[in-house]
Symmetry: C2
Subunit: 605 residues, 2 copies
């Protein structure tokens, strides 16, 4: 469904805007032909590459020949801008521009090259080797010559080249790409980038990768780097490196991640803050950080086999990625506030937005990485559903799907999953083909799914955590997984000051929120109080809780006596967080303050 | 005491740094003599002017001839940099520099000129008219010619020229300065400055001054503008304008101000956030915003006679201004966090700091407005103690002081206040001279002083709010004011999510905090829980509350079940917030989470 939106809306929308603001045009200037008038920010090239990556995955899904022609035309354009020695960036090195590699901190040259490589990898995986792969190889070779063991010891202010080089190595088998990625990873953390107001941590250049204990600084930078670190660790068999980055991500999940799975709580430097600093109203939770977090969780899922990372992917997909894009695919959130205090306001369709905070989904931003980035993720979503392991098959995400693949030993397996998940929690998996013999089928049971059951033929049996069924499955066999979908209250770690004294409501993997659209007011959400003693329940039009609006207590000075009485309570309707800001200007909050005297405490922790 | 620190430490320290980083040297280049190599930011001139203002007030207090010579030398330097037509700015207009007035949004030219005028006003008030006043008048005349009714309709991105022109009008009687200030005030709010990522509200250019309902955008900009608005309103008798700005400040106090009186809760744009967005850990609460807030509160106190504004001044002085400067006057806070989660770290004495957030007091910043700005406030502190009104005398702040003045009708009045305030709450006011006859003496009773008494000769009598004694005082008469200083718990407005479920402790006007220095650990302050059912009390070494450390509940995911049991409680020592970060690296918090089951709720609200 979301994929169709991307296909039918976002890709054309993004292409049209990139033409309008000149980002595709930058490539037309051609190499070394007079002073360039580069348009857009220094990383504009990368958005074109991300768009090509999204288009490639999308054509793999729907085989659209018109889209394939569009890709080919863009690739030709890009090839024309490549220098003879392989260098390719429209913002540097031409007459009138700053020299190549003269601003590693902010120039984004290696970052752009990384996205070029990723686009080439996607194009190659879908369509086989072609001109884009050649362009990417020439670029990668040039980078290896410039930044190799005997070359410059620099690193890029914005990581991205690291995972890209490993991905290109996987597609081409060229080990120097892997070695170059390894060099970039080991060089980081030695404070070689120029100091800046935001500190070296902004670039993850404060502490060597092996010594760091948590992700920090600019969230997208830190997460892309971590992806590259996992890639290097896995491909070189470096367990120490893998453990380091796994521990960093685990602590980030435990202490620096929003309930939605969103990451980054500072607007100023788009950064992770200290542990437990997770304000709802000033949440940053950038769309691109979520794309990067899915990429990282996916890598750690594959590297460790721990299904907890699939829980993380699910949480981010349903609560950040699904929230980011307008229903028509033509407007999007850059940042994801969990608490909108003043009503969002309508934005004109044809204006580039300068700011990233609050507000409704916008058609385009001066820095418009989210749309192509989310598009490339959504277009490749199907790859996250299932994974073949050493012996069998693991189903990691639940959606209507067919899987037809071969096990590690070459036996063919095909199955079909049917479900209305996450609307309800019943998933039916029907084996449609098998070459016979025993093999293990692993099903993820999310951590929140207390009371899950599985039925294989006979009686439902309780399951917790990952479930592995090892059988000689036959075509027609059905496995029915039941995940309880009753809405539930969730309490925050008490060290998160920002949401102390509040509860959130979740239903399956979906986070809910209270929304108060202007005109049909629930009222001032800052005065909403809910009773955590009465469980939330499915109502006719969404999840309902017991709550009410406290009396406003306006005073000339807001610090004085404790608060007054609890308000009278009634049923309050909540909606999925990913559905907010789709009904016009509204206020919203995910974390709901509780009444002082709940009906009965639901404490069991 | 603080004034002595400024005099003996800060002024020399600031001068030495301004020489070192080239800000004073900028003036040596001389007008129109070849390409300038301007050093520092575009507003560096203003820091030199603020320093001269501070030095001027300081010489008025201590009559230091060496300091007076230093001022004269700086003035001569500045005079040499003034252009023939009166224009004076070292960063614009010379060969190799951007043209004059070419960047009203960010150039700070009118802002710098405003601080020049303020320095001249201080110099003139203390030493009488001299060369600096002449420089200032030529500058002001040039501005009136350039931006007058027939000139450019521009405004400055950073307000400051507005109050400065009115102050210069007051010193010189030149009405065109007042008229120019009025023009600048009326022109603002019509979105004439170029759009920016932060929006027009950043410049207070989003809504006309008369229509706005609250201060918004960049805090210092908004507060300086408001000062100018009050000045214009008072001098032109414009009650509508006065009411507008009074209402804006009142709502700002009720909804956008920290317990300390600090203002501005966003790092990104150094701005006010939405109502009730007041995070402790990411508080910005810039030193300069507090200087500006004192200036504004003082103007509204004079304009309205409402002693509430003197409460605000007292709160800011004891909890932000007193916090800003190191005991030796040679290091300072730019921003004032109310919650330091990770230990502050020692900083080298000789390094200019790039960032403004968290951390200990620093010797110097790339943007070092706080030190000269706080210095000019502290050096002029005595002006805030007492004020003559239409008939009598009002004592607004309590400190050891002598007042010797004339009432509006010309009668001489002298008095002496003796107090250890705010350590204790006894203030003795002794009339030392009077020309006889009845006159009113007004004493501020702070809003927090429940149970205050006054003794005039005989028995103590209870007082609330402002107290006016109208008598024929005689020399030797004593008035004894008693303000109860028992420490007390304060609760936040429940709409401030950031500190929900917490209490703060105040004692008189002083906000307290828990500090956990590294090495002598109270422990992890994020786990501290206090019992709001047992009142805080004065202990041997500070204020004590009942509290304890909750068990850490580390989990892989921080959102799950409600918190566990309350910790065992003991006495926890607190210290005044303005004393924090003076014992080496430490964590700190002002707002203290409460236990779930207090001994007895102290609710009476």
């Amino acid at each position: 469904d979301r994929q169709r939106v991307i296909s039918e809306g976002s890709l054309d929308h993004a292409r049209a805007w990139m033409d309008k603001v000149g980002w595709t045009g930058n490539f037309m200037i051609g190499a070394a032909t007079g002073p360039a008038e580069h348009r857009g920010r220094e990383f504009a090239d990368s958005e074109v590459y991300k768009l090509i990556e999204a288009m490639s995955w999308e054509t793999g899904r729907n085989n659209d020949p018109a889209r394939k022609r569009e890709i080919d035309e863009l690739v030709a354009l890009i090839g024309g801008a490549q220098e003879k020695d392989g260098y390719l960036n429209t913002a540097y090195g031409r007459p009138g521009q700053a020299p190549r590699w003269s601003d590693l901190e902010w120039g984004h040259e290696l970052y752009c090259a990384g996205h070029l490589l990723q686009a080439a990898v996607a194009d190659t995986r879908v369509h086989g080797p072609g001109p884009l792969l050649e362009i990417a190889r020439r670029t990668a070779d040039h980078i290896c010559e410039t930044f190799g063991a005997d070359g410059s010891t620099g690193i890029c202010g914005h990581p991205e080249i690291e995972p890209a080089l490993v991905e290109l190595y996987r597609v081409t088998g060229e080990r120097r790409y892997l070695e170059q990625a390894r060099l970039f990873v080991e060089r980081r953390g030695h404070q070689t980038l120029a100091p800046h107001q935001f500190g070296w941590s902004y670039f993850s250049d404060d502490i060597p990768v092996r010594a760091a204990t948590v992700l920090r600084g600019h969230a997208v930078r830190a997460l892309y780097l971590a992806c590259g670190v996992v890639d290097v660790a896995v491909e070189t068999g470096d367990d120490e490196l893998l453990t380091a980055v796994k521990n960093q991500f685990d602590r980030t999940l435990a202490r620096r991640t929003y309930l939605t799975g969103g990451m980054g709580s500072r607007h100023m430097d788009e950064a992770f803050s200290d542990d437990f600093v997770l304000p709802s109203d000033r949440a940053y939770s950038e769309s691109c950080a979520s794309v990067a977090a899915v990429m990282l969780a996916w890598r750690l899922l594959l590297a460790t086999g721990d299904a907890r990372y699939a829980d993380v992917i699910e949480r981010i997909l349903y609560n950040v990625v699904a929230t980011a894009i307008e229903d028509d695919g033509r407007a999007f959130f850059y940042a994801h506030s969990l608490h909108q205090r003043t009503p969002t306001r309508a934005l004109p369709d044809d204006e580039e937005q300068l700011g990233f905070g609050g507000g409704p989904r916008a058609p385009w931003f001066e820095v418009s990485c989210c749309l192509p980035n989310v598009s490339r993720l959504l277009a490749s979503l199907s790859t996250y559903l299932a994974v073949a392991d050493d012996e069998g098959l693991r189903i990691m995400q639940y959606a209507d799907a067919t899987v037809d693949t071969r096990l590690a030993d070459g036996r063919r397996v095909a199955l079909e999953t049917t479900t209305a998940y996450p609307h309800d929690g019943d998933v039916t998996i029907r084996i449609t083909a098998t070459d016979g013999g025993e093999w293990p089928l692993t099903l993820r049971v999310p951590a929140w799914a207390d009371g899950a059951t599985v039925t294989v033929g006979g009686v439902p049996e309780p399951v917790t955590g990952t479930l592995t069924l090892r059988r000689a499955f036959a075509a027609g066999d059905e496995i029915r997984l039941h995940l309880p979908m009753a809405p539930r209250f969730t309490s925050p770690d008490p060290r998160i000051d920002a949401v102390r004294g509040c509860v959130a409501v979740e239903r399956g993997p979906v986070v809910y929120c209270a929304e108060s659209p202007v005109g049909e007011p629930l009222g001032d959400l800052d005065l909403l109080r809910v009773d955590p003693g009465r469980a939330p329940a499915d109502g006719d039009e969404g999840v309902e809780v017991w709550g009410g609006l406290a009396a406003a207590t306006d005073a000339t000075w807001p610090y004085d006596e404790p608060v007054g009485d609890d308000p009278p309570l009634g049923l309050i309707r909540l909606l999925p967080y990913h559905r907010w800001a789709r009904r016009g200007p509204a206020t919203m909050r995910v974390w709901l303050p509780t009444v002082q005297s709940p009906r009965a405490r639901s404490t069991d922790g």
